[in-house]
Subunit: 147 residues, 2 copies
C-alpha cells in the first residue's frame, strides 16, 4: 500500500549521487545510471524533469553533464520526491475542496489530512546533504532506527 514508484526511488538515488560529487563537477547520465543502478534512458527522463523544476542544471555538448543546481544542504527529500511524483496526497479528497461531495461531513477526510501533514513533515525534515553522507558504523547519526 502507498508505494513509491521506481521512478521516485531512482530519482532519489540520482540526486544523492550528484550530491556526493565535488561541487561544480559534472556527471554524465551513463555514469549516474551505472552507479545508481538505474536504466540509462529512463534516468535521462528523470534528470530532464529535475532540470525543468530547477533542482538540477544540465550542460550539453562535450564536457557537459548534470550537477545539482543548489546546495544539497538546502534541498529536502520532500522537494525531490515532489518534483518527480507530484504533491503528497494520500487521498484524492485532499487535492482540493469539493473533490469529494462527502468531505463536508466525512471524518476520514481529516485523518488523511493528518497523514499527509506527517509525511510532509518527515520528508521536509531531512536534507539531501544528510542523506548523501556515507554512513560508517552508523552510530550517533541522529536518525531513528525503525526497520
Amino acid at each position: 500500500m502507498m508505494e513509491l514508484t521506481r521512478k521516485g526511488e531512482y530519482a532519489i538515488r540520482a540526486i544523492l549521487y550528484l550530491a556526493r560529487q565535488p561541487t561544480g563537477r559534472l556527471s554524465l547520465v551513463g555514469e549516474i545510471a551505472g552507479s545508481a543502478g538505474v536504466p540509462r534512458t529512463f534516468l535521462s527522463k528523470i534528470l530532464q524533469q529535475f532540470t525543468r523544476t530547477g533542482l538540477v542544471s544540465s550542460f550539453r555538448g562535450t564536457g557537459g553533464g548534470f550537477t545539482l543546481a543548489r546546495d544539497p544542504a538546502g534541498i529536502t527529500l520532500l522537494e525531490v520526491v515532489e518534483a518527480i511524483e507530484g504533491p503528497v496526497l494520500p487521498n484524492r479528497c485532499l487535492v482540493g475542496e469539493g473533490t469529494c461531495e462527502r468531505d463536508g461531513t466525512c471524518r476520514v477526510h481529516e485523518v488523511w489530512g493528518r497523514v499527509r501533514d506527517e509525511m510532509v513533515s518527515i520528508l521536509a525534515g531531512v536534507t539531501i546533504e544528510e542523506l548523501a553522507r556515507a554512513r560508517e558504523g552508523s552510530a550517533g547519526d541522529g536518525l531513528a532506527k525503525s526497520s
Copy 2:
C-alpha cells in the same frame, strides 16, 4: 503521490456504512453500494475480501446480507485499509531485509521506515466507531483540522 486506490476508499465507506447500522442488522450489497456511491459489482468483491479477512460476516439466501463481524470501536482504520490494500509500505525496501542491496548503507531507508511508522500510528489511532459517528457542527471532536 502515494494515493489510496478507489478500492481502498470504497472499502472504508462500506465499513462505515455497516458501522452505522443497528447492531445485528444485515445490509445488502446493493443497499451499501447505493448509499456509499460505489459500483455494486465492485463492492461485492470488496465485501468478499472483508469476509475472508474476518472483518465482516456474510449470510446468504433470503434475509441474508453483510454485517460487521466485530464491534466498530475495536476496529481501526489501519485494519480496514490493510485488509484491502495490504501492509503500509511507502518503499519496497521495507518489505524485508535484503529487498534492496543498498539497505545496509542507505540512509533513506530509515526515513521511509519512519514514514511508515507514522502512518501506521495515525491509522491505528482512529477507530471505525469514531469515524462512523455523524458529525454535527464538528466542534470539540478531538480531531486535528488540517485541510
